[in-house]
Subunit: 349 residues, 2 copies
Amino acid sequence: MKALNSLYEAQKIAFSPFVFQTVYTMSSLGIMDELYEERDGLTIEEIAKRKNISEYGVRVLVEMAKAADVLELIDDKYTLSKIGYFLTRDEMTKVNMMFTQDICYKGLFHLKESILNGKPEGLKEIGPWKTIYEGLSILPEQLKKSWFEFDHHYSDNSFGEALKIIFSHHPKHIYDIGGNTGKWAIASTQHDPDVRVSIFDLGVQLKVAKANIEAIPEIRDRVDYNERDMLDPNSEIPAGADVYWMSQFLDCFSEKEIEAILLKIKKNMKPDATIFIMETFIDDQRFPAAEFSLIATSLYFTALANGNSKMYSSTAMKYIVEKAGFETVQEHRLHMDRFHTILEVKLPK
Amino acid sequence: MKALNSLYEAQKIAFSPFVFQTVYTMSSLGIMDELYEERDGLTIEEIAKRKNISEYGVRVLVEMAKAADVLELIDDKYTLSKIGYFLTRDEMTKVNMMFTQDICYKGLFHLKESILNGKPEGLKEIGPWKTIYEGLSILPEQLKKSWFEFDHHYSDNSFGEALKIIFSHHPKHIYDIGGNTGKWAIASTQHDPDVRVSIFDLGVQLKVAKANIEAIPEIRDRVDYNERDMLDPNSEIPAGADVYWMSQFLDCFSEKEIEAILLKIKKNMKPDATIFIMETFIDDQRFPAAEFSLIATSLYFTALANGNSKMYSSTAMKYIVEKAGFETVQEHRLHMDRFHTILEVKLPK
C-alpha cells in the first residue's frame, strides 16, 4: 500500500466514530432505505423533503457518507454504493450495527480501563451490574432486542448438522454443560427418543430451561437439572455421560477458567466418553466479514460483558484442550451454517 | 469492488467504534510506540511484560488491530503496518484521534437528535453549554488540550502567505471580523508598520485579543476593538475598511447566516474595498486524508459545537458570495500551507 493511501486509511480510523454515527443516523432516519428504493439517486433537497429533515442535516450526513464510500455522487444525486447496499440490506451487517450502537458504543469509551482493571468498565453505561449476564433480562427493550438479535444471528441454524455429528456416536446420556434456554436439550431429545440429557448450569438459567422443556410432554421425563457454578472450585461433574456438550459456552471464560472446567469434567469422565465443543472460531471463518465480527466481539466481552473472555481461535482452544490432558481427535466444520466448528475431544488412549 | 470486499468494508464500518477504541487504547498505553521502536516486532507475551498489562488484554487489542490492518503478524510477532505507522507518527492523525476521543466520541452518540433538533445535542456529554464556544476556556485540561491542538493544526502556518496576498493590495485599514485571539491583528500590524486594524468580535473574544495586543508596544496604538454579535440583525459594520478579513470565521455559521453577514458588510462598504475569506475548503485539499478530516469536522459542528455550521466547499461558499451580490474575483490556494484557500471577493463593477 502506498504511503498516501495508508495515511488516508489512518485518517479513516481516527474519524471512524463519525462514520459509524453517520451511517447509523442515516439508517435509523430511513435515508438509507429511501436511497435503496430510488436506484437513480436523490438530491439533498429531495431527501430533506421526503424525510422532513433540514437540508443542512442531510448535507453533513451525505458528505460524510460519500467520503466513507457508503454513497456515490453523480451530478447532484446521491446513490448507495455497494458498501452502502450491504449496510442497508445485509442481515449480519445490520445486526452488528445495532449491537454496536445500542450495547457497545458508549461502553467502548472505557476499553482502556477495562483492560487495565480486568473488569467490564463500560457496562456502567447501560446498567449497574458486575457482568452483563445479570442484566440481560432487564435491559431496556431496544437494547434487549439488539443483544438477542446479535446473539441469535450467530447461533441459529447450527443444530441440524451438530445433531448428526453427535448422534453418529449413539450416546445414551448427554451432559449439556451451559444449557442456556434448553434449546439443545430439546433438540437432542426430540432427535433421539431414547437419549437422556442432564443440564448443568446456574440456577437462574436452569429455571428458564426447565420452563421451556416442561412444556413438551414427550421429552420432559428424559431431562434433569443440575445447578452448578462451573467457576466454583468445589463444584463437581459426576460420572455417567457418554457425551459432554458445550455450545458457545467456553468463550464466556478466560483461558485459565476453560482449563479448570475441562479438568473438572476429566475428573469423573468415562475413558471412552467424548467432549464436543461447538464454537465460532476466529480462524475457521469462510468470510473475512465474519472473522472481523468475531474479533470485535472479543472487545465486547472485555468492555461490556465480563472483562476477561473472548472469541478464540481453534488453535488457541486446541492448545487449552491439550494442556488439560485431552486430545482433539477431529475438527468438524459445519458446512450449511457459516460460522460454527465442533471440536471432538477425547482422553488420550 | 467485489461483493465480498464490499461486505467486509460494511462490516468494518459496523464495528468501527471497536477499531477506534482499540487504536486509541493501544496508543495511550504506549503499545504503539513500543512497536514503533521494535521494528522486528514483539510477541503478545513481550508486550504484556513491557507494559505490565495482562496477556489477555494485549491479545484482544492486537487481534482487533491486526484485523483492521493496523498491525501485521509474522510468526508470533506483531509489527506496525503502514497504517499503524501513521496512527503513531503522523501529527495530523494523532491530533485527529485525540480530538475524536476527548471532544467528540461520546457526543456523536447524539448525532441523530442533533440533526433532528438543529442543536448540538452531544455537547451535554462534556458540559452544560448552548454552544461549545461558551465552554472552551473552562473545559477540563485534557479536553482543552485536544481541542486547541486540533484547532491549531489546521490554522497555523497560513499567515505568511496570506500576508503577502493581502498586502499586495496595500490596505491602510483592515477590518478583522472574527478576530479571535488577535493573531491576525498582530501579524498584519507587525508586517506593515503603517496599517490600522479594527477587530470586530464578541466581548469575550475581544478581551483575549486586547490582552495579547496590548502587550506589544509597537502595534497597540494601531488596533481598535469593536464589540459586535454578527448574528444580531441590528448590528452594523461601519464604512472605512480597504480590506475585510475573515479567517476560518464563516464556517462557524449556516449558509443563511453567512449571507446575512456578507450583506451586513456590503451595506457600508467602499466600492473598491476587498473581502478576503480564508477557509479550509473541502474541495480544495491536496490530500484525501485532509479532505476526510474536514468533512468529519462538519459533524463536530452538528453534534458538539453549535448544531448548524459546517466545513464548506469553495463551490458552496462562492455560491453564497454570489447570492449576497458579490463576485469572487480570485481564488488563492496557499501552496506552503496544505489546507487553506483565500477567496478574494469584490462588489461587481
